[in-house]
């Protein structure tokens, strides 16, 4: 029996977990659900020793334990398979399984035969099939996951955490995974199963717990509980953030700025939609819904996905973000540090980088005077808090960094702006400012797309919402239909999903 008692974890500015108590029995599948940011991942990281709880304790069979590293929690029999696998791509399956804990012969050399034998035995026990001698990079996602499962369970494993294990699997692979989980159950392993896909929970779990805003709000048997009840428990919060009043849906009669026809990912239904001038179009969905991928493909970052696009009524084919920019389409990436900012550069350089061609004299020389004028204008407009536009952008807070990226794109005079997770990880004040700004842009007649996993945000600011799942659009919501229940229902595969 694994018990977490009164766990509290604080990060600067937020309480990630507030007095959470959960327990997991051997041979039980315990589902953990909640919106993004509810605290599920933090809780699991405490289990695995990545984080330490500020308050509360962890008990295994009644004895208190304090894992401070993943290796320690593994020794205690707790194993976690995260969404992003931790496999070394060019090593083969059994090398990955035994990585860092290889079995040696008495001469100190690697004992390949014993390791292969053990791996083979583990595979048979779980009735799994994948090649042990091929680099894992050559395996399918489902097979890689199987490698992870064997890796997690081959030594002592009493408790297993699966974080969104089905997010990137096909329905048939999900079925296979569930068979494996059933076998693990039979072997006496207790599983925490984290998933956004509620129907899966009813299929596989015995118990379900709901986290909301870091608080534990519900635990009960899966039988006698409905999807609707779970959804209302997950989202049943007062929307506390202040959103500016919506301007109302843009006139449907107005010509759309962009029409997308038959964008198709391999193995998915095709996607068709339009973005209208003056509206904020929300794109909702769960991990693996291919929201970001769709729009990266639209701006030419991944031209290989087939699609027909009309921009301002004319067919266009974008082969690079540069071409998108020349047409007036901008994409603001979700990961601002990795793909948005030039961290070592000044605020000014970060703002003007997409606009330099316009800041030159007749000889093509960049004029610092014009650069400064432009960056100062947008620093003021975005209320970026800084003493100088020459300050390094890495010194700014997350909210101000996000505003720098927005400033870059406002300066570029685009007609369609795609914001991918525009407020992820920034404080409430900056969020409110960004919302006002998004509405101003729509009011100016731009097309504004907001890809967001933050449900209150989608509900609070969007005039129209597309709900995506597995690379296709499951619903288009407007007006009062834009609510948590409907979005979660379609995003998690309800209503013939």
């Amino acid at each position: 029996m694994l018990e977490m008692k009164h766990i509290t974890k604080r990060f600067p500015g937020i309480v990630a977990l507030n007095d959470v108590s959960l327990s997991l029995k051997r041979g039980e599948v315990h589902a953990l659900v909640g919106e993004n940011g509810a605290g599920k991942s933090t809780l699991m990281k405490i289990l695995s020793g990545v984080y330490q709880a500020d308050e509360g304790e962890l008990l295994i069979d009644g004895a208190t334990v304090h894992p401070t590293r993943t290796r320690e929690s593994e020794k205690l029999g707790i194993n976690i398979i995260f969404q992003e696998f931790s496999l070394v791509p060019h090593l083969n399956a059994y090398e990955n399984i035994f990585l860092g804990r290889e079995i040696r012969t008495k001469f100190g050399t690697l004992d390949g035969r014993t390791m292969r034998g053990m791996a083979r035995e583990a595979l048979d026990k779980l009735d799994m099939h994948f090649p042990l001698d091929r680099p894992v990079a050559d395996l399918t996602v489902a097979e890689q996951q199987s490698v992870e499962i064997v890796k997690a369970t081959i030594f002592k494993c009493n408790f297993l955490v699966l974080d969104e294990p089905t997010a990137t699997l096909t329905p048939r692979e999900v079925k296979k995974l569930f068979e494996v989980i059933e076998r693990l159950k039979g072997l006496g392993v207790g599983c925490f199963f984290i998933s956004h896909h509620l129907e899966e929970i009813f299929e596989i779990a015995d118990t379900v717990s709901v986290l909301r805003d870091g608080c534990h709000v519900y635990t009960g048997p899966v039988d006698g509980c409905t999807q609707d009840q779970l959804i209302s428990k997950m989202v049943g919060r007062e929307v506390t953030q202040a959103f500016p009043p919506k301007r109302g849906v843009a006139d449907a009669a107005e010509a759309p700025i962009m029409e997308v026809r038959k964008l198709r990912f391999p193995g998915s239904d095709s996607i068709s939609f339009e973005v209208r001038r003056g509206e904020i179009l929300g794109i909702a969905g769960l991990v693996g819904a291919k929201r970001t991928e769709s729009f990266l493909s639209l701006i030419g970052r991944d031209p290989s996905i087939e699609k027909d696009v009309l921009f301002e009524g004319k067919p266009i084919e974008l082969r690079s973000p540069h071409e998108a920019l020349t047409h007036g389409i901008g994409y603001l990436p979700e990961d601002r540090k990795r793909t948005g900012l030039f961290l070592p550069f000044s605020i000014r350089s970060n703002i003007v980088v997409s606009t330099l061609d316009r800041l030159t004299n007749k000889l093509g020389m960049v004029l610092p005077r014009k650069e400064k004028a432009l960056s100062d204008r947008f620093i003021a407009r975005m209320r970026i808090r800084t003493t100088s536009d020459l300050k390094t952008v890495s010194e700014l807070s997350g909210g101000n960094q996000q505003k720098v990226i927005i400033a870059r794109w406002l300066a570029s005079n685009c007609k369609l702006l795609i914001f991918d997770e525009p407020t992820r990880g920034i404080d409430v004040g900056a969020k409110a400012e960004i919302y006002v700004m998004l509405q101003e842009l729509a009011a100016q007649g731009l097309g504004v797309v907001v890809i967001s996993s933050d449900l209150p945000e989608v509900i609070g600011i969007c005039d129209r919402v597309l709900v995506m799942r597995y690379g296709s659009i499951r619903a288009t919501l407007t007006g009062d239909d834009i609510n948590s229940e409907k979005i979660m229902l379609y995003a998690s595969g309800g209503e013939n999903g």
Binding site: P321, T339, F342, F345, R348, V353, V366, T387
Partner: protein, 332 residues
């Protein structure tokens, strides 16, 4: 972004005037090499009276010019996060091409020089094409391009130096306004590079590609084009160096400039440019190149054997980079 980095150091300490400027200068990564350069010069001057003479100092700048010019192109490449190992081979190819055109085909010097520089630029562009178009690793592509141009030079000359007449030694040997012509050419190349890196959009994009390539792509920068151009620029500067060398040695030398890519890289790194790209300054490269040149000259004057010189050079490079690293750690 280079100037921004300079001004940025200022902005952290808003003390105006000379104090502010001094603090900004100290904060710059090339400051270590600058101090080393001064210390080295003072030390050598105190040990040998012949060091601090106009003739010797001008001589050093002339000796430095070939490495310095190559290091300019190398700075562009390294700022994008790349590396160019092919520059020595391009020097050799440009040198043999040029000597061939003059000695065998009767071209005038300027035409041969121009064609050789164009040839070098094109050779660099070939590396750039493979790196930009197929995303091949620069170290591998330019490793291959270390072989091809030199091989072509060797084929053309059958492995022997190809002499040209004494009258073509003007560029390599003469003085204008009291300065050696190679020194003047080097200063001109640095000036052009300064202008391009700081005042043209291209320069900003070079920094952007090295600073964060993904962000650069999403910002609408044609990163492939920028990458192709920096290798072309590197080929161009290597060929200019090849031209000077041909004139100075009065021959096309297919076996010349072996290992010079490493000196050029050392100059760039000593100049404070990050080997990972995105940060650095062309003025630093000039300081780095001068440091290497003064070091060579000093060690000769002190009477250190060429074998010991290599040890000392290696140690100084290592120490300079280490100090730079520690300073960066401290400033965080």
């Amino acid at each position: 972004m280079g100037e921004a980095a300079a001004a940025d150091a200022k902005s952290r300490e808003p003390t105006g005037g000379l104090v502010g400027l001094a603090k900004a200068a100290v904060a710059r990564p090339e400051f270590v090499s600058f101090v080393a350069l001064i210390v080295l010069m003072v030390l050598t001057a105190s040990m040998n009276d012949n060091f601090l003479t106009v003739d010797n100092l001008l001589n050093i700048t002339r000796q430095v010019s070939i490495t310095g010019i190559i290091a300019v192109g190398m700075t562009f490449v390294i700022l994008t996060g790349g590396i160019d190992l092919s520059v020595g081979a391009i020097v050799a190819l440009a040198s043999t091409m040029m000597a061939g055109m003059i000695a065998n085909m009767g071209f005038p010097f300027w035409a041969a020089a121009l064609l050789a520089i164009m040839g070098g630029t094109l050779t660099g562009a070939v590396s750039g094409f493979f790196i930009a178009r197929f995303a091949l690793p620069p170290i591998i592509v330019t490793l291959a391009m270390m072989e091809i141009p030199r091989g072509l030079g060797l084929i053309y000359t059958n492995g022997y130096p190809l002499p040209i007449d004494r009258e073509y030694g003007f560029i390599g040997r003469e003085y204008v306004l009291g300065l050696p012509i190679p020194t003047l050419i080097m200063l001109a190349v640095f000036a052009v590079a300064y202008f391009v890196l700081n005042r043209l959009p291209l320069g900003r994009y070079v920094y952007a590609v090295g600073g964060n390539e993904d962000a650069a792509i999403l910002s609408g920068i044609r990163t492939a084009r920028i990458k192709l151009m920096v290798y072309a620029i590197s080929g161009c500067t290597a060929a200019i160096a090849g031209m000077i060398q041909t004139s100075r040695l009065l021959s096309g030398q297919p076996n010349s400039a072996i290992g010079i890519e490493l000196d050029a890289i050392a100059a760039v790194v000593l100049g404070g440019t990050a080997i990972t790209g995105g940060r650095g300054h062309i003025v630093g490269t000039l300081i780095g190149a001068l440091l290497l040149g003064v070091l060579n000259n000093s060690l000769n004057m002190i009477g250190l054997s060429p074998y010991s010189q290599r040890v000392v050079k290696g140690v100084i490079l290592l120490v300079a980079v280490l100090i730079g690293y520690l300073r960066k750690q401290n400033s965080r």
